[in-house]
């Protein structure tokens, strides 16, 4: 390295600037007004870092680098242009890609350096590879569940947690042995394969409703493994970027867990939805009131203040554009319309906000749980579209409910609640919702998109046809 101090110096400077740009990039993301500037900062930082790396004096062959960069771009462009409803799957997939990159680099580094590898390097390398490998398969499984290639219902069996922890324990044990005896290189493949299996097993028991937490957690793992790689390669830039990613994933998963009143371990080790199915089955005979689109339109038109509560069902039905039309139609009549968004609505943090923004609904109408709940008693109509568990009053009152204590949107406190839902079947958590049997609740049975469309038709037609 001493023969070309000049280029090394330039690289260090470029990396430092890139790291600063990355932090600025996230800082500007704190407000929608400056967020796009943040993207440019991120892109500039990335470009500087890559160009800087190409100056690295050790690089002798550019052929494969060029081919790989082109190929990656070819794959990346369609991944960047998926429909907004597919964003959760895409995000999970990109966690898998990121982890794949880190794991491959770690593996290559191991075979280049072992057995002459220091204890410190081997420790962080083990951390990098174990986290990376479990994130690859874990994210692929999550993406599969989100894309509905795999069943979304949690799959559990007796002793599952023990088996899972066993796998993780063995992987860590192998890592420790390799740290102490780096010459036992035959152990290395096992240290990759076992976390790969663990990644699959870890996601099997996790249901659709827990996806926001799990995606955030995988996000955090991907970041931490990249940070570990930064220590292996002695690259401060990588440590900074990895730590940022790890921290953001961690903060999001804590947020998500809090929003569901569950601890990390509970999400990871306690799939819910098993015993509650039986409870729900016994209560379906209770009476509910339902309404037609015409009646719903009349009630909405007479309201002063309407809160719309969207959930995953809106995403599935692709109803966000119809919701926008409803928003327009009501706003034109002078109705105050806002949106109440639960932190875990949808399948990833912020999922609903993105969908509604896609439909051109101004972001200052998208309110979070605390803002909306205070206004709920003054709200004439709460319109729930495809959300279930996040509106379940049992979370406040029923100690035996598995979601007891989870903060919810208090739609039942509005004068009238209307719930658009396909049928009376319970949500992903498999929990019956007492909201549907309340006196101020009206069920609007049907496809979210079609139903909202019919309401809009009624409103704009003014009852004329």
């Amino acid at each position: 390295m001493t023969n070309l101090p000049g280029s090394q110096y330039i690289i260090e400077v470029l990396y430092f600037v890139a790291a600063v740009l990355f932090i600025l990039s996230l800082k500007w993301l704190s407000s929608p007004a400056t967020a796009r500037r943040g993207i440019f900062a991120g892109e500039a930082g990335m470009l500087l870092a890559i160009v800087g790396t190409l100056f690295h004096h050790g690089i002798v062959d550019f052929k494969w680098i060029a081919i790989a960069l082109v190929l990656g771009t070819i794959i990346g462009v369609p991944l960047g242009n998926v429909a907004m409803t597919a964003v959760p799957q895409r995000t999970a997939l990109s966690h898998a890609f990121g982890a794949l990159c880190v794991t491959l680099v770690g593996t290559a580094e191991f075979y280049l350096r072992a057995p002459n590898i220091s204890k410190f390097i081997m420790s962080v390398l083990s951390l990098e590879v174990i986290l990376g490998a479990l994130t690859i398969t874990g994210s692929l499984m999550a993406a599969g569940k989100l894309q509905e290639i795999l069943p979304q219902r949690p799959i559990t069996y007796k002793g599952q947690n023990l088996v899972n922890l066993g796998f993780l324990g063995i992987a860590i044990a192998i890592g420790v042995v390799l740290v102490l005896h780096p010459d036992r290189m035959y152990l290395y493949p096992a240290m990759v394969i076992i976390p790969l299996i663990f990644g699959v097993l870890m996601i099997i028991p996790i249901g659709g409703a827990d996806m926001p937490t799990v995606i955030s957690l995988l996000n955090s793992y991907a970041g931490l493994s990249a940070a570990a790689m930064g220590f292996v390669l002695d690259s401060k830039l990588l440590i900074v970027a990895g730590a940022l990613d790890g921290a953001s994933g961690f903060i999001l998963s804590v947020n998500m867990s809090k929003a569901m009143n569950r601890s990390f371990t509970n999400v990871l080790f306690g799939a819910f939805g098993q015993e509650q199915v039986a409870v729900a089955g016994g209560q379906e005979a209770r009476p509910v009131r339902s309404a037609t689109p015409e009646e719903a339109a009349a009630i909405l038109a007479a309201a002063n203040k309407v809160v719309i509560v969207p959930g995953y069902g809106m995403a599935v039905a692709q109803a966000q554009h119809k919701v926008r039309e409803l928003y327009d139609a009501l706003s034109k009549r002078g109705v105050d319309v806002s949106f109440g968004i639960h932190p875990v609505a949808g399948r990833m943090p912020g999922h609903m906000n993105v969908l509604l923004a896609e439909a051109d609904i101004p972001y200052d109408k998208l309110l979070d749980m605390d803002q909306v709940n205070g206004d709920m008693p003054q709200t004439d109509v709460a319109l729930v579209i495809g959300a279930n568990d996040v509106t379940n009053p049992a979370a406040r009152t029923d100690q035996s409910s598995p979601i007891f204590g989870m903060p919810i949107l208090d739609v039942d406190k509005a004068h009238t609640v209307m719930v658009i839902k396909r049928s009376m079947s319970p949500g992903f958590a498999g929990i019956d919702n007492p909201l549907y049997y309340l006196d101020n609740n009206l069920m609007l049975f049907g496809d979210a998109k079609a139903f909202v469309g019919n309401i809009v038709k009624e409103l704009s037609g003014g009852g004329g046809h």
């Binding site: 050790g58 790989a68 794959i75 991944l79 242009n81 966690h95 990121g98 996000n219 390669l233 200052d364």
Partner: protein
């Protein structure tokens, strides 16, 4: 450590409104791991390193390109009611 601390402070201030873009942006930034992969693929120290490095670049680059594109698309959609055309 310092980076993690600054990152923590900065990220905590990101509004829940933008959590999805936050995740896709940090994902794109995380793909900076590509620099390690480039060195591996370019140094040609061993055939294994070149192959693994090359695949790693493909994976990371697709994250960089895809991540920035989709984050930008998402952010373009967020409009305030004040700046919006009628």
């Amino acid at each position: 450590m310092l980076a993690a601390f600054i990152g923590f402070e900065v990220i905590r201030r990101v509004s829940p409104l933008l959590h999805t873009p936050l995740m896709s942006l940090t994902n794109a930034l995380d793909a900076i791991a590509v620099v390690g992969a480039i060195i591996l693929a370019g140094e040609g120290k061993s055939r294994l390193a070149t192959i693994l490095g090359t695949i790693a670049i493909v994976a990371a680059t697709s994250n960089i390109v895809g991540g920035f594109i989709i984050t930008d698309r998402m952010l373009k959609m967020f409009k305030s009611s004040k700046t919006q055309k009628p």
